[in-house]
């Protein structure tokens, strides 16, 4: 198995006819993802290298049976695109777009929870999700991840940062460790999918044997995840928190990555994770080495 997506996931790309949507949509298809449709109200009836374009997500779902959507719409349109996807009938929405206003994020997160409780949103401002060998939705380069192998342990990855997600995938591949699913939840203030959503799914997933969690300074998502791990998780977790040495009060790239008033420091997050039994590395390489040890332990 894998979490949230698998080889049966059929994806409609909102914004397939734009340059980004087209580039990644085709790349995802090349990886093996079932890219079944695109949407663009002005270009309904056309196609992008054989992928049919419909006016709306609802039309695409009706015609193709799409179960997930991937949003490559510019930031001003993301609020409407998320709601269109939910109303259109898909159950999993991946919003890649960065620069979405926080007020929009807070609004559509709550709107989905209330009116579409069975719809899960990933992002916005995230690299997407990949279940190696099965499905890749978003901007992750598929070849840096090793697909699961029967009889060998697989690791689930969840990360707030895009490039660190790639770093994690790559280091695990160098160490010949397979990945069940890798979820980039994004560094925005209100991510549609949280660490806990992923940890819960990994705990329930019979193909995932251990979990790698990459967090960063700011907010309290890692502390909340630590509490969940402590209470609910039986699988080993390895973690790294970016921004260990970030100065207080400076916004470090991501909207969420800021240490304010002594809250949200990496040290506090690492302490909380260690107390929950998590193996914590001081940098991505150290964390990957810790995961190698964990996986070697599982093999015995």
């Amino acid at each position: 198995m894998s979490i949230f997506v698998d080889e049966n996931t059929k994806v409609v790309y909102q914004g397939l006819t734009g340059s980004q949507g087209r580039f990644y949509g085709l790349l995802n298809r090349e990886y093996g993802t079932q890219v079944v449709a695109g949407t663009n109200p002005k270009k309904a009836g056309t196609d992008v290298e054989g992928i049919p374009v419909y006016a709306t997500v609802a039309d695409a779902v009706e015609a193709t049976g799409a179960t997930a959507s991937c949003i490559f719409i510019p930031a001003p349109g993301v609020k409407d695109a998320v709601i269109e996807a939910a109303e259109g009938g898909v159950k999993f929405i991946v919003a890649i777009t960065e620069g979405v206003p926080a007020q929009d994020e807070a609004w559509f997160f709550n709107k989905l929870q209330r009116d579409f409780p069975d719809v899960q949103l990933l992002g916005p401002n995230c690299p997407g999700i990949i279940s190696p060998g099965k499905c890749n939705i978003g901007i992750t380069a598929g070849h840096i991840a090793k697909p699961p192998v029967e009889g060998e342990p697989s690791v689930g990855i969840v990360s707030r940062s895009g490039t660190l997600t790639y770093q994690a995938l790559y280091e695990l591949k160098l160490n010949d460790i397979a990945v069940s699913t890798c979820v980039g939840i994004g560094g925005d203030p209100v991510p549609g999918t949280s660490f806990i959503d992923c940890l819960k799914a990994f705990e329930a997933d019979d193909q995932t044997d251990a979990v790698m969690m990459f967090g960063e300074i700011g907010g309290s998502a890692e502390e909340e995840a630590a509490e969940f791990i402590s209470n609910e998780m039986s699988k080993p977790v390895v973690s790294y928190i970016a921004g260990v040495t970030a100065p207080a009060g400076k916004k470090m790239g991501h909207a969420g990555a800021i240490v304010s008033g002594g809250k949200g420091t990496a040290a506090a997050k690492m302490d909380a994770l260690r107390a929950a039994g998590v193996h914590v590395g001081n940098n991505p390489t150290e964390a990957s080495q810790l995961m190698v040890e964990v996986v070697n332990g599982l093999k015995k």
Binding site: T165, Y170, G253
Partner: protein, 380 residues
């Protein structure tokens, strides 16, 4: 984007929130002219984006033009916690019966908007939160529903404001919520929110942080970018469209992606070095972007060595390598550069860099090895 008090008050006023009459000035003569126009007594307030202005002598009451002249002259140019005062806000003085506190921000854990209201305003709210947390009434507002009048009434009652202030407070809080949501703010704060002896509720200060991602809805917000407080290096990087944070050390850091950049800063520190900056070149690491990044970094005289840490996801290794080679031909660089290049097409990238390697351009296979090398070079 952080606003100065005067900008915050103009922002509030545009949503109907009562603020004192006043104007922003940059000279003593203009300060007197504004005071003459709005009527005495007036308050002369230093405009800096840092707390504790009053204690530092940056807020003074003036009863006549001579006092305005004296205070304005003293405060202009004053240093408050490292911020030089270049702008003054002159406003009519208010009679104060009571001082309150009100704010809205996003509670990321609850994923709802958090409103905070306290009858103990005018002081640092963090201190109140520590010494007497019960003095702050909190409300969580669902972004879909918004703040209703009934909720606001209940909230004001819970904060135990003077009952006579209830009507005015409810009105201001609803307008403040509208300003926060429709104005795309990350934070709106009034401290103090005052109750006057004649029964009015009024914003005496304004702290506003706007969401830079919302400029497409508010083209007028571009004006605020120009008044953001940045150091010289940050200004230069901003103009080149780079994500840059100035730090105090001697190792220049260039990475793609905020997470990797933060990680690079971590590793440099962990192997005994001190980063001079945090520079995220984002997704497209072409020659122009790389040259711009190297320019910003080499203009910092503290930089003794440079760490370029790239993980190609969709960004391809050969493009990064070509970018580095081209940039080095274009920008005069006197300090050594250590490159770590991994991910998509990294091998092709390394092949491109190979013939250019020297004691000024070095390559290491891992983040840790590269960090150790670049830190050693910074110490030479």
């Amino acid at each position: 984007m952080d606003l100065f008090e005067y900008q915050g008050k103009q922002f509030f006023a545009s949503f109907g929130i009562p603020v004192s009459a006043g104007d922003a000035v940059t000279t003593v003569d203009d300060a007197v002219a504004v005071a003459d126009r709005i009527g005495y007594p007036v308050v002369v307030k230093a405009q800096v984006q840092v707390g504790g202005r009053g204690k530092a002598g940056g807020i003074k009451l003036a009863d006549d033009a001579d006092e305005v002249r004296t205070h304005a002259g003293n405060i202009l140019g004053m240093d408050i916690k490292g911020h030089t005062v270049e702008i003054l806000w002159i406003e009519t003085a208010s009679d104060i019966a009571e001082e309150y506190y009100a704010s809205f921000t996003l509670d990321r854990s609850a994923k709802k908007h958090l409103g905070m209201l306290s009858a103990e305003g005018g002081v640092e709210i963090e201190a109140v939160a520590e010494s007497n947390p019960d003095a702050i009434a909190k409300i969580w507002v669902d972004p879909v529903d918004g703040l209703t009048e009934a909720q606001a009434l209940e909230w004001v009652a819970a904060a135990k404001l003077n009952p006579e202030a209830t009507e005015g407070a409810v009105d201001i809080l609803q307008k403040l919520y509208t300003a926060y949501v429709d104005g795309d703010a990350d934070l709106v704060e009034i401290n103090p929110l005052i109750f006057t002896p004649d029964g009015r509720v009024h914003a005496l200060d304004a702290k506003v942080t706007l969401d830079a991602n919302s400029v497409f809805r508010h083209p007028d917000y571009e004006q605020y970018e120009a008044t953001q407080v940045r150091d010289e290096r940050e200004t230069e990087a901003f103009e080149k469209g780079l994500q840059y944070v100035g730090l105090e050390g001697s190792v220049g850091v260039i990475a793609n992606g905020a997470g990797l950049a933060m990680s690079t800063v971590d590793i440099v520190n962990q192997v005994g070095g001190k980063p001079a900056n945090f520079l995220d070149i984002g997704g497209g690491a072409n020659a122009d972007v790389m040259a711009g990044a190297l320019e910003v970094i080499t203009n910092d005289p503290n930089v003794r060595s440079i760490f370029i840490n790239i993980f190609g996801g969709i960004t391809k290794g050969e493009e990064v390598a070509n970018g580095i080679v081209t940039a080095m031909g274009r920008v005069q660089i006197d300090v050594p550069i250590v490159v770590r290049l991994d991910g998509t097409n990294a091998e092709q990238g390394r092949e491109i860099l190979e013939p250019h390697l020297s004691d000024k351009l070095l390559m290491e296979p891992t983040m840790v090895a590269a960090a150790e090398r670049v830190v050693a070079l910074a110490k030479n």
